[in-house]
């Protein structure tokens, strides 16, 4: 039994106010502050074995000979197996989507067979009684390699000088071209065309808890339970089922507490599939947990792009159009099942997104390389699209001598112009660019900052202001993955149950990764049913327990899962009133649920507490009319369908100081005004935005997966790969405009990625605003001191 002080406390909830929109501290999260969470490595099961992987030291090589004999003889070793042995239990996969026309990739095995295509690819698996024993045995793996030439440069790959997968014919994973009618003429007639090339280095998620899973196969019933740090339990259930040949209904994926995901934990990883296969092979539970070096080598990377962008505008300050050429290198395989074509595709879809120009041309090439794979990581493509758009918009403003804020004001899509179809074909339901811009300029005191900037310059201090307007894809419809043949659910479900004691139990298919998903669902359920947040319990992350759904990605949890909870909660409220009306023998319409009880709708006077509804409904239904059946459990689902995506919008600003002697960039302050529709919990949304901004700052200033020319990762530790720590981060001011989407009753659009989407562009523009006066500008992220000094011509 819980000690009294462990029971949840209703923190500052005024029962009379709607729980939606309150900055309620997260319910059910105290355990995380007491070291009582249950992360993957905290799970204890009997007969657990531990797997480690022998990984390729080469970026591209043939396995001439692999000898595991000595490894097998090491203390505690249960099995040492190669790719062929694993393939007996796990079929290979190909990461393609049919609606990304022409996208191709090669079959990928759980453990490499004959050939490795990136440094870090698993070559053999060693299973032992303890992790230490397995790691010790790694030293006894003997491999003879034939090292093959590695293709590590994107342009080199594009030339097809050396083809990584000969059976594919070339190195082109995916290409896309689009052009609007009259594009050439419009560009030819424009007063000014500015052009610039931007480069984005690879970076990665660096989740504090590394990737991992514990697969527990039970041969008695041919069942597989996988404890998995994942964002998409049902997607993984389907994948384990199909590739391990176990009926879907016999596979259960359980996601307990997860130490951060950010898109890293929504993909299929070869070593994770191998772990599940080993559990089946060895008929016992097997755990894999990546160490930090493995995380850097094998967690998906993101954002290796070179983009040349042109923008045409008139001297009066009207943007005519954008022209884009994007090249991105994704590693040797398109990642399964979401593919590695999406990031580049998003850049094509979203570039120029906030503006009302009519002309657009884009060309995208996605090429294979012998580096770690890249795939969808927080804000997928947005940081690139926003940075190139906002960078070239600033170039345009400079070229015609117009203030950056004013130039944006003239070109942002008007707030009353919706619904609006953008030249790339995407549709916006309702955005609020101008309201956001106005609020931002006021919050930051734009004119005051300009004065400060000018005064500082007099003293030889170089400060700059950067603006970055943005749009963000959220709540994707089935058009994102489902239509392309991926078994990834676009809908989510919620089951809401009144317990006998009067508490409300909520089961949702969206997962909790720490964002506070469960807390906001509790608020939505409380609002819908008519109880306090403290009366709600939420369970997520178990395919055997929750309704079926897509999980957590693309900022979809609150918007899709939240709506399912809202509708289920409303239905439960109605059903509670049916029971109350039957007990009280009054008309249902005279009753309501408020403040944890059934009340008279007009007077608000309590008629029945909810535990009485539960008592009668569950234990004394004999006292209810003969033809009446209470339904105190309700399930509802929600699928966004009217638009391909719900879009959010916003604008960020950064104020920086560049030390022109050292190249260091100091972040003085950062602002973000965004419109995520209905804000369910302002406190949670604000810090979610800030966390996203900081992740964007990491990409802009620090984070970079450095590879040598022959494909060796040079900085596979947190001592060498820099992440944002508190001291370098500025205070971040967050403001909101709320334009609820009308495609759902809840109106939430999603807030998970906006911060990351806009921050790099704002910082780049701020740096260039600071050093532009010296004739310098930066365009290669991250903007390290060395690169700033290079831009200044000092090194």
């Amino acid at each position: 039994m819980n000690a009294r002080n462990e029971l949840p406390v209703s923190d500052q909830i005024a029962q009379s106010t709607n729980p939606i929109g309150q900055s309620t501290p997260r319910t059910g999260a105290r355990k995380l502050l007491q070291g009582r969470g249950m992360y993957l490595d905290d799970i204890r099961v009997p007969r657990l074995a531990h797997v480690v992987f022998f990984r390729s030291p080469h970026a591209h090589a043939r396995i001439k000979h692999l000898d595991l004999t000595a490894a097998r003889q090491q203390p505690g070793v249960i099995a040492a197996v190669d790719g062929r042995a694993i393939a007996e239990f796990c079929t290979p996969w190909v990461g393609v989507l049919t609606h990304l026309k022409g996208l191709k990739s090669a079959p990928q095995h759980a453990v490499a067979i004959d050939r490795v295509c990136w440094q870090g690819e698993a070559v053999a698996a060693i299973v032992a009684q303890t992790r230490r024993q397995a790691e010790d045995a790694l030293d006894h793996v003997v491999v003879e390699w034939e090292v093959l030439p590695a293709v590590t440069d994107m342009r080199d790959s594009l030339s097809n000088r050396q083809v990584i997968h000969p059976e594919l014919g070339d190195n082109i994973c995916f290409s896309r071209e689009m052009v609007t009618e009259g594009f050439e003429e419009a560009f030819a007639k424009a007063d000014v065309v500015v052009e610039k090339t931007y480069d984005f280095s690879r970076h990665t998620g660096v989740t504090n808890e590394p990737r991992g899973l514990l697969a527990d196969y039970n041969p008695a019933d041919h069942t597989l339970v996988v404890y998995h740090g994942t964002q998409a339990p049902h997607m993984m259930q389907d994948i384990f089922s199909r590739h391990l040949n176990i009926p879907e209904s016999n596979v259960r994926v359980v996601c307990k507490d997860v130490g951060g995901s950010f898109g890293i934990k929504v993909h299929v990883y070869a070593d994770e599939m191998a772990t599940a296969a080993l559990s089946v092979m060895l008929r016992r539970p097997v755990k894999f947990l990546a160490d930090r070096l493995e995380s850097f080598l094998t967690d998906i990377h993101a954002r290796e792009h070179t983009v040349t962008v042109r923008m045409a505008c008139n001297r009066t300050g009207e943007i005519v159009g954008f022209d884009l050429r994007d090249l991105t290198g994704i590693g040797p395989y398109s990642v399964y099942p979401r593919t590695s074509g999406i990031e580049g595709n998003q850049v094509v879809n979203l570039t120029g997104g906030p503006y009302k120009h009519k002309h657009y041309r884009a060309r995208l090439d996605v090429v294979f390389t012998n580096k770690n794979v890249t795939c969808q990581y927080r804000a997928v493509g947005h940081p690139i699209a926003v940075a190139i758009t906002e960078g070239i918009v600033d170039e345009g403003a400079r070229a015609i001598g117009m203030d950056a804020a004013e130039f944006r004001r003239r070109n942002l899509i008007a707030d009353d112009a919706y619904p609006y179809t953008f030249p790339s074909g995407i549709k916006f339901e309702k955005l609020s660019h101008h309201q956001c811009l106005d609020q931002l300029l006021k919050l930051m005191d734009y004119d005051g900052l300009r004065r400060d900037q000018a005064a500082c310059r007099q003293r030889g201090v170089y400060r700059g202001i950067g603006l970055a307007a943005m749009i963000e894809v959220t709540n994707p419809s089935p058009a994102f993955y489902g239509v392309g043949g991926a078994r990834i659910s676009a809908q989510d479900g919620a089951t809401v149950r009144l317990d006998p004691g009067g508490m409300v139990h909520v089961l949702v298919s969206v997962t909790e990764q720490g964002q506070g998903t469960e807390a906001v669902f509790a608020q939505v359920a409380a609002s819908a049913v008519g109880v306090g947040v403290d009366r709600v319990r939420v369970i997520t992350g178990d395919t055997a327990v929750t309704p079926y759904g897509g999980g957590t990605w693309a900022s979809r949890g609150a918007g899709i899962g939240g709506e399912a909870v809202l509708q289920a909660g409303k239905a439960l409220r109605s059903n509670i009133l049916d029971v109350a009306a039957a007990i009280l023998q009054v008309d249902k319409s005279t009753l309501d649920v408020r403040n944890n009880g059934v009340v008279d709708r007009l007077t608000g006077q309590e008629r029945l507490p909810l535990n009485e509804i539960g008592r009668v409904g569950y234990f004394r239904p004999d006292t209810l009319p003969m033809n009446f059946q209470s339904e105190l459990t309700v399930t509802r689902h929600f699928t966004p369908r009217e638009y391909g995506f719900t879009f959010t919008n916003g604008i960020q600003a950064s104020y920086v100081e560049v030390d022109v002697e050292t190249g260091f960039v100091k972040l003085l302050k950062h602002w973000c005004v965004e419109d995520c529709g209905t804000v369910i919990n302002p406190m949670l949304v604000d810090e979610q935005i800030r966390g996203g901004v900081v992740q964007g700052i990491g990409g802009a200033l620090f984070e970079e997966c450095l590879y040598s020319d022959d494909g060796q990762l040079l900085n596979g530790s947190m001592a060498d790969y820099l992440v944002p720590m508190a001291a370098e981060m500025p205070d971040i001011v967050v403001g909101h405009v709320q334009t609820p989407t009308k495609t759902s009753e809840l109106g939430a659009k999603g807030a998970g990625e906006a911060g990351t989407a806009g921050a790099p562009g704002a910082i780049m523009n701020a740096i260039n605003d600071a050093i532009g006066v010296l004739g310098a500008s930066v365009a290669l992220q991250p903007f390290t001191p060395q690169r700033v000094l290079q831009a200044l011509g000092k090194v």
């Binding site: 995380l32 070291g35 009582r36 930090r292 966390g691 508190a726």
Partner: protein, 167 residues
Amino acid sequence: MSEFTVKTTFTLNGVKVEQDIAARQHLVDFLRDCHDLTGSHLGCEHGVCGACQVMVDGQVVRGCLTLAVQMQGRSVDTIEGLSERGDLARLQQAFLQHNAFQCGFCSSGMLITALDIVRHHPQASREEIRDLISGNYCRCTGYQAIVDAIESVLLEQRVMPPQGATS
């Protein structure tokens, strides 16, 4: 081949422990594997992220850079012990009220650093708090809520010092 072990005697969360410990075992692995104290987390295993922090004789220590056998004669307090004893109560409440955590993986270490700030840097400014927590990696928040939470406890403490304040 059996592991080389060393008999080690120390205090763990207030309780005396006497155990043969593998000489190569790190403190955090020992706590997690031998005592099921899973509140200290392994993030990087090379002393950068701070998720594995514990207190040794009242000092903040990285559990992944310390060998368990080094604890001979010392006193180790983990997130579990500090929580049970109530040492972290104010900070935990402030972290909850300010939403100073998301996934919680860094929180054990972050709270232990915060406790060190509360005890040894009671006058710390926001900027100093940012510096002092810069050995603890949080990927989820923007750090601002963490600074807010720690600052709120410092401000409260200046008005109302904790009873039986320890140095």
